[in-house]
Symmetry: C2
Subunit: 530 residues, 2 copies
């Protein structure tokens, strides 16, 4: 197969805007002087007096701007001229200040000017939009703007401390044709985190060539150390760098670093299963920084938090994406979201969301006692270290809860009716081998349920169901017309019944493991940038 | 279920930016005067002389802008003052013009100023980005910009002819909190078009309330007449309006109307199955206008056209979306695209893409001869008027082709190996009843194939397969481990095998009909705006 992606730009179309822009220039340090007052409106001659006063002192004016219906004239001068300029203006406008025709002469220092210079830019709509969107999305405040000539120059006055960031983001916006750059910070470098880092490094050249997407990993943090490099962390030895040169992990410091280096597409990826990063989601989203995560904690904690995170993402024009919190890379979240988004009300959600429970009941045919099957699954690494963490149904319940919330439910985890497959007497903390041994006492119970189902030509599945407002996860006997009937291996399944899909829309496939999870996370990252 | 969508803004967050903006003002008619020349750089006193000259003539200056490293000063004045201003400047700068220190005094008329006025806007990054993005995405050229005061005023000088459009798009960008407005033009008002129009009108209130998306239908065209209303077509009687007050349909006129009224989210929806609208896709996309369509013609015509449309969409920062060209509303296109997009190479695509052929073989169990089954399906309206248009496999071949192209193939339709189920002798134009009668001569052949499959515990499916570079659609006997084994009714199916999904990712469900197709089109429209 030719690996070209539809949308790959061939030929010259991509450099159209790059040709229009000739360069980005900057004036490293300027002072802004604003003469303001409502009495100045329509006052012919005030400009002459302002500029006349400054000319007598040979003050060179770098930038001038005065908007319509504006009560002020704004000038940028060299810092060395600032005090003199202010004095000259105070002298010239003494009377106007006394009678409050001019209210104030304000001096602001520590500013820079960034100018985008080009040709025929006025004939190309959207250049100003691109410049100011890049600055705005990077949270760079703009003190003054001027654009006026035919041979275009858009000048923006910004805080001096932001000048490098501003140069970088404007450069990124124009000088790579349609290329977009994502600056990615990964929290957690365990199974999923490491796989994701490998995937990003491996797919970087292809993504750059075929999709014009430049994915840079700018931060990696584990629970001990973190490595922050806004210019990008080299692919070959990130583990060594993290271990040997990383600073002590500190999410607050991480947040400030990310904010200082914010670009239009900055993405935080939380690959942990812990609470600490979740507490920082509101800060990141509130700053317009995207959050992508396979961590279910935010989505299955209080419904209010879940709502609040979405509100913050919308209000700050960024994304909160978590496709991999249910079904790993399978598009479960997207499917539910798309149905709801288009106003196609969901009547029923059904699914098998635990790969382990899927495997156990897809395999359980009576030829091996249930407890032995669990033991064998554990031996193959298909279960949690303590298989009761699978058998208790909580993981499936959480996934159902988060999908239900996307479907419009505001339920809490306690509202989900959960059938715990761990017999009551085996739920206390105990040695796992002993638990599995004792589980054999219940093999006859499991077998009775199984053979009863078989007699009715049904199969057992650990099924999650949202029916109206009712949420449940439990062992269910399904017949051959049920979408879960022919599940295989550890497949996950989602069946969505809506007004438009009276026969359900079904998605199934591998729903667990670091490979598909990392791939799903990467897909979410690409959705931030796309 | 509480129908609230995650991300619904509750409380006050949504109006944050609306509070910052106090208003939008405009100066209906201004003239821009630009004094320019490379000799002016760093020439202290030039501003004084320019403004002094204008002050002697009592010329009121509405807007001033001079950027850094710029060789010009740009002034907006009232048109009545323009001639006088030019004369005064020519007199004052006579010598500078002679020695080419000043190159030119240029006057541009027929301009307007749009000003966004607010408070503390300088503390809120992104305001300028929002203003200029709205203008840029609406293809409004900007002649000059000024922003300078603390009580902010961003002024943009634009062509006078664009002033209403500019006021509208800036208003839309700020005054509805996070609300976004889509301006939708629908070509084709047949089964799918009418269903889509009904859906949009029905879901409008919900989308506005819960998702802050304002969907306005601004144009409807059928093959005879078209109705163009940039302010929105009323829901209740569009059919009457289209019939009685619509103008003669003309895609060129439609294009010009859409362009004149372009907003940041203008969407063309082609719900026809004809060639004419497709010829206009490049024009729309080239103008930054999104194209959404269930029409397969563009995707299954020359591969070059397919590529070119994607290139145009990317180069013009807009969308070309066609989820419903395969599997109707099922996310087949998205699933393939997501796999490829994340650099997860597709090893194999398999599917059942014809609802009619799915129905025929899911139902065909030998109890009724094949020809009778076709007749009965036709009687129930499950086939094309001429069932040979289903049986020839071309529709399935086209869908396979377009999915294969998304997966990276550059094949043409002739590269697909198609098994035509219409016996060779029945392919000529003929009376349909007679064809169906003659089809009975082949019932034994079909039955032999079926019973052979049954003997091998297999079922017949009309399967589309992409395996490496090879594309084929043909009758295939599948066993119980195949994802198509348990298809029911007229379900469509897609199974994607990739590096990450060694067991395929499977999507199935209802894949035809105006309801799910219109719903899928609506979903694409929402993706343009989201």
């Amino acid at each position: 197969l030719n690996p070209k992606f539809p949308g790959t730009i061939v030929g010259t179309t991509d450099s159209r805007q790059a040709h229009i822009i000739r360069g980005i220039s900057s004036v490293d340090h300027v002072t802004l002087i604003r003469v303001q007052g409502s009495g100045m409106v329509g006052m012919a001659g005030i400009s002459q007096r302002i500029f006349g006063a400054l000319a007598t002192g040979k003050v060179n004016i770098i930038l001038i701007t005065q908007g319509s219906s504006e009560h002020s004239v704004c000038l940028a001068v060299s810092p060395k001229d600032a005090a003199k300029a202010k004095k000259l203006l105070e002298t010239e406008l003494k009377h106007d200040l006394e009678i409050h025709r001019v209210a104030d002469i304000i001096v602001e220092d520590d500013l820079s000017i960034i100018a985008v210079v080009g040709e025929n830019m006025r004939q190309t709509p959207g250049i100003a939009g691109k410049v100011f969107q890049a600055l705005g999305r990077s949270r760079i405040n703009i003190s003054a703007i001027a654009q006026g000539s035919s041979e275009l120059n858009i000048s923006a006055v910004i805080r001096r401390v932001d000048r490098h960031k501003a140069l970088r983001v404007i450069h990124d916006a124009f000088f790579y044709g349609p290329r977009k750059t994502a600056h990615i910070y990964i929290i957690g470098a365990g199974l999923i985190g490491s796989q994701l880092i490998r995937d990003i490094y491996q797919k970087q050249p292809w993504l750059l060539k075929e999709r014009h997407l430049d994915l840079r990993i700018c931060g990696i943090a584990n629970s001990r150390t973190m490595l922050l490099r806004h210019e990008g962390i080299p692919a070959d030895n990130w583990q060594d760098l993290l271990r040997n040169t990383g600073q002590k992990s500190d999410l607050q410091q991480l947040f400030h670093y990310v904010k200082e280096n914010q670009s239009p597409f900055t993405v935080i990826v939380d690959t942990t299963a812990s609470h600490q990063p979740v507490e920082w989601y509101p800060h990141f989203l509130g700053q317009g920084i995207a959050v992508v995560t396979p961590n279910k904690i935010a989505n299955t904690g209080p419904a209010d938090l879940f709502m609040r995170l979405h509100e913050l993402a919308i209000a700050n024009d960024t994304r909160f994406l978590y496709e991999t919190t249910a079904g790993a890379g399978l598009p479960f979240v997207q499917a539910v979201r798309d149905r709801v988004a288009s106003g196609d009300p969901i009547q029923r959600l059904e699914g098998v969301f635990s790969g382990t429970l899927s495997y156990l009941f897809n395999t359980y045919d009576g030829s091996m006692p249930f407890s032995k099957l669990v033991q064998s699954a554990r031996d193959q690494g298909f279960t949690e270290p303590d298989p009761r963490d699978d058998l208790n149904g909580l993981d499936a319940a959480r996934k159902l809860l988060l999908l239900a919330r996307i479907a419009g439910s505001r339920a809490e985890i306690d509202d989900v009716q959960v059938e715990n497959l761990v017999p009551e007497k085996l739920r206390k903390p105990d040695n796992i081998s002993r638990v599995l041994e004792k589980l054999a006492d219940y093999d006859a119970d499991f077998e009775r349920i199984r053979s009863n189902a078989e007699k009715k030509k049904a199969r057992l599945r650990y099924l999650a169901v949202m029916d109206k407002n009712h949420l449940s996860v439990k062992l269910t006997a399904v017949k051959s017309d049920h979408p879960a009937w022919d599940l295989k291996g550890s497949e996950n399944l989602l069946a969505v019944t809506t007004d438009a899909y009276t026969d359900p829309l079904v998605i199934k496939g591998s729903g667990a493991g670091p490979v598909v999870t990392a791939n799903g996370v990467l897909n979410d990252i690409l959705k931030v940038i796309d």
